[in-house]
Assembly symmetry: D2
Homo-oligomer: 341 residues x 4
């Protein structure tokens, strides 16, 4: 649609699409609204729409993914976390930093972590309540108890809450507590879960699968958008290769590749992306330098006592250093990151 | 337990385990019953059990996976599909062949496929009702309608039915129709689904994930066994590598590796494992030669008209040749495969 | 050329090619001679040749590799090792087995290995004189001393000698002793070495690089053929992947893929391809079943005392079993392998 | 050795080592000299040396690589390119940038490239004279003619010359012209070549192989140092993975990993590391941010007319932007990069 298009114009186009038996996906941008169409069995004649008021142009999308494509929507998508004018936005000028422990282990641990990450400038808190673990005998998270702790963390520290949902039924519970629904790497092609979070009103953080190609990654996001949820944040978290000096190989080249093909924001997880504490800081710097919209970092008040992922968690002091360096590199790229004084 | 142990002896050991607050997993073998213990937070003193009637020895399992390990159960597991003395068994002397189309497209297509694969000697039929597809806009399967067709296929052709379940809620439906619940490669670490099929009374076919290590593969199986379902058939279906002459790289070395570490049967999927029709036959021969317990093969009455995976599906004539060659190679290894006259 | 083409016809075509300033590559097959052309900067008009006596057809090769392509030469190439009517041929009905120790450690070790592998039916002997080792501090081979031992092995046991050459200068020495020049996986794209062995009159065994695509593998062979040596045997020896239950992942699907694209014979190295002794036998069976033209296997009289690769070497008894099973599987595919009585 | 150790003390220790029949490797650092020992068949008693004048401590190296290890030499190695107090140094505070075309195509092309990269602030020039190409039919470089052009480039623009050597015999020629001998990724385990450049007096730029582990990479460098050439610059240039949105996957995590294990400098090649022009700039920024000691970048005066690698070459304007951004990011890490005014 043209920047000058009215809400009425947008509605008219959407109605026409629905009348044709297809689904309309209006996605607002800073300047203008893009409207995607899905459900059409074949190509639609652009002329059907080009004469309508407010329509700038009608484009046939050449990629297998449609709604996530920059062909449909040229402007970067901004994903607002929570309500309020002060709410953090992912994908804009400000870098987004999500920090916190791998798993919520106790109210005390969560509060200590939250207090420190908030003080360092993070505005979003991560913490697992339901943990997908390789072994059935490993700690699987505190479940609802953890969700309640996360609720308190939001209340007390003003942090937006990012936590993982592991299956469609579980999503009913998690979305009552979370500000952002995380879909983990192992679930990137759990299509039932993707459809479910696509019907949620909460933003989704979608992690790249361990061996997902870029196209598969974008197609997974497409599942979510195609259900009507356009607030998706992508996350690179390392892929599986032969290399054995890190747990995964962080593929930073995917950031500029996503930026070229899609309007969705993308952040980087240097904690899982390397699996080694001493790699987190340098790769976090590199992630900002390559153009990521933010970071998700594991921070534990006492990493050596963590019930999971301690070896890749930063302590609060290391995280403060990361924030300062990320902010400095961000400045070079015209991105801001506010550190608390 | 000793070969001579009575049902009473087994029950007594299980009761003692339960009394200690742990879970007992009695797994019968051809000669003797193995009893696994889970739920114990730390090591248990072997002497607790070694004096009990019928106990041969008490072993501490050194691997992260317990119930799937050969340390717990030395004899190969035999997985019986369906009821009756004539029911096919996977893991025994007879090779198991599961064949049929990628997806059930119609009653006619399913019947034509079933008629031909049954005539060629297959005793198990595959056919997708719910298809996990990379794109939300691809054919996703006929759902319950397909399940009803599969029911008819069983009835009419005497074939056991193998079909995929894609999430825990979906499993409630699928297990009413299937003889074997298939968990697809993309769901190998969908732990909610693994737990759900672990509570089913139907055998499970667990496909290796695209980038799963052997340990992760066995741990995924462990999720199922730890819930009480010991009838798991593993399946190698190719892994993701840099190689581009096939869609996936079939890793046949995993067969002898699994045989050494686990008592579970393992079959091979040369259709997904290569993604190319002209590769299916040679790799099927190789799979039998390397020691697999059987094959799962995509067969379509008219591959060029298939709604999915046509390029890797065999036509019925090619499948008959595959059966003859697999039978001949099986003979070299002392395995049988009955071809219809 | 037509089957009926005379030597004179072949010569005339070659002369015409040379007159045009290009290079002619006459490659004899069982039925007819194929003549490849290289050195042409662009397409050549087929009509230039199609009217000449004995010419069947003139084809433009569509692949980046030319002389190795089946487009140029439809018949399988047969590579004769050594002279004499009884000389082993790779690529024909008979399976070729190359066996022996990783490195020649002493005359005694070599003779003991040779005696046993010859008795089991192998007609070709492998043994490293110059060893490319990851560490500069590892045993690098006995050099010329080993070559002289290999000479004696040929003399005494009637085995053809396969040994590795590691650089162009080294090739001057090795080709005086070897019947087949081996180019190792790490040198698959050592183009100076490829050109050098391309100018040798000895057949070349070219191993696939650790991360070589099929096209790169065939292009490496093309380097050799383009220099005039058409006697190239390809060898799959495992590629590097994330999988950690074997040292490399043996990619058996490359065998039918090579057979479709090229006329060159291809064998399999299950010793390096798995890196584990207990995997060698099953993968050797699979290699024959998939359609390989033979095997190269590490056999040591006392594997546990080997100076290199002992953990993947078979002892002579295991090798005899391998020969029996390979022969039995070969029979299913119409291939022969003569075991000594 | 202690910082206070005299040249005499160093000589005495080296003599003692040689007297024992081993090889001494004195490697000077900014503060103190480290002396490595090779050629010893087993451990040496530290006490043999600890009492000698100037000796700080005697350490047994626990890694398979010795001379490249930080255990042997704690201080970062500085590699000086060429002579003179103004000569560029790789590994110090100043970032090193090597830029120029993939291949030297003509005097004019080389001069135009050199003029622009020098003006942008690069002090080292790259340009291939001998090109290892996947196809025997691709442009293989101008050979000696290109070396002579490079000589003129040094003379005219004051740039240090980095060019590739492809085999031991070829090295005799290349080292007459080059300031730095480049060993390409495909030759990383060409041990004959590694030994040859190890006997050169010119510094060596060693590129990581396409599927080299970190240990293999360091072992390849060890080959060079073990022959007495301690001036080795490592280079990450992307590894081969399943990912297909870039030609290779740039593994930036190897930079901090190398820094922890080795004293050698390491730079990054974002041109080969991504294979796409639009990826070079963001990944170059990331490389500096992660802590690399510099960059090697393909720059061509007219990328679209390049005879090789045009699709990944920057034009001079893009390169100037890269220099400015790299300098700005370097500042954050305390590294300098002088841009010409």
């Amino acid at each position: 649609m043209k920047p000058s298009a009215s809400a009425e114009d947008v509605r008219a186009v959407c109605e026409k699409i629905e009348t044709m038996g297809f689904r309309a996906h209006p996605m607002p941008g800073a300047q203008r609204v893009a409207i995607g169409i899905t459900g059409n069995p074949g190509p639609i004649e652009p002329a059907e729409f080009e004469g309508m008021p407010g329509v700038a142009e009608a484009i046939r999308v050449s990629k297998p993914y449609k709604l996530v494509s920059r062909e449909v929507k040229q402007e970067d998508s901004l994903v607002r976390i929570g309500a309020g004018v002060e709410a953090p936005i992912v994908g804009g000028r400000e870098l987004a930093v999500i920090a916190g422990p791998c798993a919520i282990e106790s109210r005390d641990q969560a509060f200590r972590a939250a207090e420190r990450v908030a003080r360092a400038g993070a505005r979003l808190f991560r913490g697992g309540a339901f943990k997908p673990r390789t072994s059935p005998y490993s700690f699987q998270g505190l479940g609802q108890e953890a969700l309640e702790v996360l609720d308190e963390v939001r209340e007390r520290f003003g942090l937006g809450i990012v936590t993982e949902t592991i299956d469609p039924a579980n999503c009913d519970l998690v979305e009552q507590y979370a500000d952002v629904l995380q879909v983990g790497a192992r679930n990137m092609q759990n299509f039932s879960l993707l459809k479910r979070v696509g019907r949620s009103r909460k933003p989704v953080l979608l992690k790249r699968g361990l061996s997902a190609t870029l196209e598969e990654f974008l197609m997974a996001a497409e599942y979510i958008l195609s259900e009507g949820n356009y607030n998706v944040i992508l996350c690179e978290r390392g892929v599986r290769t032969f290399a054995d000096h890190t747990r995964n190989t962080l593929d930073l080249s995917v950031i500029p590749a996503v930026k070229r093909l899609s309007h969705l924001p993308i952040i980087v997880d240097p904690s899982h992306g390397t699996g080694k504490r001493n790699q987190v800081l340098p790769l976090a710097r590199a992630a900002i330098a390559v153009g990521a919209d933010g970071l998700i970092v594991e921070v534990h008040p006492e990493p050596d006592r963590a019930l999971s992922d301690g070896f890749q968690s930063l302590d609060p002091g290391q995280f403060e250093l990361l924030m300062r360096e990320a902010a400095a590199i961000g400045t070079v790229l015209g991105r801001s990151l506010t550190l608390n004084p």
